[in-house]
Symmetry: D2
């Protein structure tokens, strides 16, 4: 649970729009619901935009009432759909979009998505002055300025469901499991899954695989007669990474099995943690808009709901602390 | 639920042994528990063999009491472990094993495993007269003579957990998911998962992929504006099959994502169905031994627990009926 | 999996209606989907009736297309809703309903529900000649003539999820758990849950509680140093039964804890088993109507999909075989 | 994820003991594992005490090695068992216990449990100088000084599993569900479950039930044609509370159904969040002991792992902030 601020209302806001963009994240629907219900409670009309920035560019939005967001709190996916829009990369298109929004009487925009989506939102406000506020909706938990993102907790638990089943099957000779989790350039899922799954090895995206070290640790496990060994590997940029490692381990005398979850990690019913996080952030975002705050993302830091200038998000990267990876090693030894 | 026979006890049996062999299957522990508890209730000592036929060959067995099988009803894996033993393929080794068992006062052997394991059991009795009885423990459900095997229901549900999450994430443009399930040479998992998961295409092991037909159906789905399309593919013999298909679909204009569950399907807590099936079969197996029946497998047919001569299992293959695959197509259209 | 018949088409059918009635059962949606998709594949129009017989009486139905049943295969509940209608008990109302259906060009009705709902369907056809066909949709598995009902497998697994968690917490002195499952007058859920959950005592609805026997078995478990003991009790007619038993056990020196699941057992995503069962039955029901068969329920017996005259269902009760309860006792000792 | 401190090692510690006490909490095993593995990595012997303070008083402890804590990361319950000990309330018994520990060469004690257990630990150190360090192991999340406790996240998700299923079944006329969650004197579970479950009413322990307000909100939901309404109620001190409320609602014209989860909420596999939290706290606790810190609990505050003087925990209560309950109301309207 996080401490919720109560920004003081100081402006009128008749109409806002909300969209989801980028990769799906469980809890996006809970966030949409929180935005809608809070806005309606404050007397603000809500327009839901279809298919992220693609829909925004085309003026593809519809008025929402309270029943539009009924029964979605526990569902994965997003009722507003998402998209990755190339058109929105064009400043002219952004200018036209701002005009279109204003012409429709829409006075602010809530964007729920990851880094790329928040960057688009930032540019919209910087260039056109159209007020935006962002929510961190991504399973990667790699957005600067917030310690948590909507969907991360669920994705970690999804990976653990599979790892727990794998541990059951290690009832034969020593077995090595290579589990690939999502994370093109960030290793937060890999790290959390590694600690919570008891992995002896966590391979982070972009980090070279120290094959010799992996084999040493496997020998060590064999000596200590462990039933099974787990290597958690972030998908990284190379789609062949996991099968290559699995193959090399077999050749080196460690029969290994790969499990590639893929997009499964983006779906599923959000955990309680993600529902509550999404609800807090969605609700507070509306109150910040009513307090005249924009060009920020609402996130969490030090157990409090805070705002983070979108500028900071655009220009900074978030990195996994080293001590977490050391901790994982100690616990699995 | 199945109708349980009550074979009439007609012989004395002081001591039996039980082992699990081959790939893990959820419910194996429930079966071990049922064998042990029923044997003890009938005044028969139970010896648990470690690591399948490897342990049997080495005389690696231990006496079990009721607490040996406490708290295992709901766990995946097998407390007796399994192995794939090459040594047991040798008739001389089988002869020595029978002698070793008799010398230890063990009068019968219960084997829980798949085709290969039941074949080994059959040969043991045929060649040495040592009484064996088999239970169908495999997720593949490909054992002739029984309509169900211990672990199949759980494996299907495990695959569905992932498919259900994938369906959530199809909230963008049309997305094609290729989900690889287990099944080297049998397509029972693929068929059930296909029907229960709403797949438009089910690719069976050994069947050539009709790529043109798959694309036609995808076009059809696009036209009917389906959110997502699912292709379920049995792993077959070629480890590259799934990634090749996924790649080819992308090239043909259908962005596809792969999910390879692998050994996850062999683990996890057994479903109620598998716990009850394992309990029935394990219990009845002991009563059949006490009735002087052996060289059979205890399975289910027409909603009844029946015996199937091991000879029949060895010499027959079980095939997925065609009408099931047609049904899957109708339901997904 | 069950053997599917292929009834020979011999009549024209332009339009059918489908409704769900009585208590919810997971898999009802999968059944609706199968009815709709199969009908459309056969060139038959489908009308979905809202709120069971209440809606039928009011002519509250709407044409369905394939997208009406998209994405519901894995969801609990029923998109058509249900109701318990008193109006339909009146023969005049039934006569008027048949007329209303005919006036709308609807030529047959598929009813998905339990005993009561199937009785209503039977009377409709008996009195008015309007063709009906039933599907067994109830978690209780108490419908005569079919060995399984849509929703039973899921309800059993739901109860087991809670029982498995209870077993974890028995890490202190011996603990007795009293788990109440659904079953006003039938004990199928209690029996399956008892066997799959390892219960020492299963209390069936209508059966008097043999308190002394329960205490004897608890003493026995204590002596054998079991961690926890489980009593599964069907809800029966008396809402105080479970709390009374829990209280009495405490007074007798066996601290007990109650878990009352209630309507949780009627919801949740259907298992693979229930999705496949619902899909088979829904599909075959349509083909039977096209073959001129009606006034029957489509169910399963001896691993085959069969028809059962509704008359037989109305006039017979299905009872849990005694040997199952004995088996439960042996396995838990 | 939390920021982990690195307390500087400044003393020798040859031997420590660890115990779990009070009600079970999922994640206790993960904590035991973290304590053991970190201690062993630092060259400290670990003794596991059986059955909480009861075992401590009787000198019932055993040396643990790394395999003692193998394969427990994902399991509910506690391998060391728990107990509620009356004997330890006696200062003389505490004095004798300290002496016994010292005689065995044990130099520090890690206590994993709730308020009562931490109070006992505090008294032990205050009176005898024996170094203790506490970890917050309880599903209630009601320990002063820490924002989270091991087991809370899992318990919330367990309740949500049931609530999600109940929502499925509200496919008939408006249905009211009364779900009772744990919480004798604290409402943290009720609050989180209420927000994450979309409850219109959350009844906190000790708070009088405002029946009129509840009925007003139900009327409101009816008017807005909600499918179902959810009331989450903490168990409080009166075991009749939930059934009384359910009954009164029925009488007032709102047919309601009760779901009483009971001890189910104390079991089950810990979530990723609880496994990571338990791992961090268990590991850091050992490092704090090695840095000479004791008579504290290791917890989390402002997203950092911190120490909290046990004295503060004993003398303060933690209260649910009001604004959370208001938020729940807005979101559910």
């Amino acid at each position: 649970m996080w401490k919720i601020p109560s920004p003081k209302r100081c402006r009128d806001l008749k109409r806002l729009a909300v969209l989801t963009s980028g990769g799906d994240a469980p809890g996006m629907n809970a966030a949409i619901r929180a935005v809608a219900r809070t806005a309606l409670a404050r007397g603000v009309e809500v327009y839901g935009v279809s298919k992220g920035y693609s829909g925004l560019v085309n003026g593809d939005w519809q008025c929402m009432d309270r029943t539009s967001v009924a029964n979605i709190l526990q569902t994965g996916g997003t009722i507003l759909k998402t998209d990755r829009s190339d058109a929105f990369r064009d400043p002219q298109v952004r200018a036209d979009t701002a005009e279109r929004l204003r012409a429709a009487g829409i006075e602010a925009l809530v964007v729920i998505g990851g880094d790329g989506s928040l960057t688009g939102a930032h540019r919209l406000e910087e260039e056109t002055g159209f007020p935006v506020i962002g929510l961190p909706g991504t399973i990667d938990n790699d957005i600067f300025g917030t310690e948590d993102t909507i969907g991360f907790d669920t994705a970690v638990n999804t990976a653990l469901e599979s790892i727990d089943k794998l541990r059951d099957t290690a009832t034969s000779h020593e077995r090595v499991f290579v589990v690939e989790v999502m994370g093109r350039s960030s290793g937060f899922i890999a790290t959390s899954v590694g600690i919570a799954g008891g992995a002896e090895n966590i391979i982070m995206p972009g980090h070279p695989i120290d094959f010799q070290l992996i084999c040493e640790r496997l020998n060590d496990s064999l000596r200590r007669r462990k039933f099974s060994s787990l290597i958690v590997i972030a998908e990284g940029e190379d789609p062949q990474l996991t099968s290559q490692l699995t193959h090399d381990l077999g050749v080196a005398g460690y029969p290994a099995r790969a499990c590639i979850l893929g997009h499964v990690q983006r779906g599923g019913s959000p955990t309680g943690h993600d529902r509550v996080l999404a609800s807090y952030l969605g609700s507070v975002a509306v109150d910040y808009l009513l307090a005249g705050t924009s060009n920020v993302m609402v996130g969490v830091r030090k157990a409090e709901v805070v705002t983070v200038p979108l500028q900071d998000i655009v220009s900074n990267k978030k990195v996994v602390p080293d001590e977490l990876i050391d901790l994982a090693q100690i616990l699995a030894t």
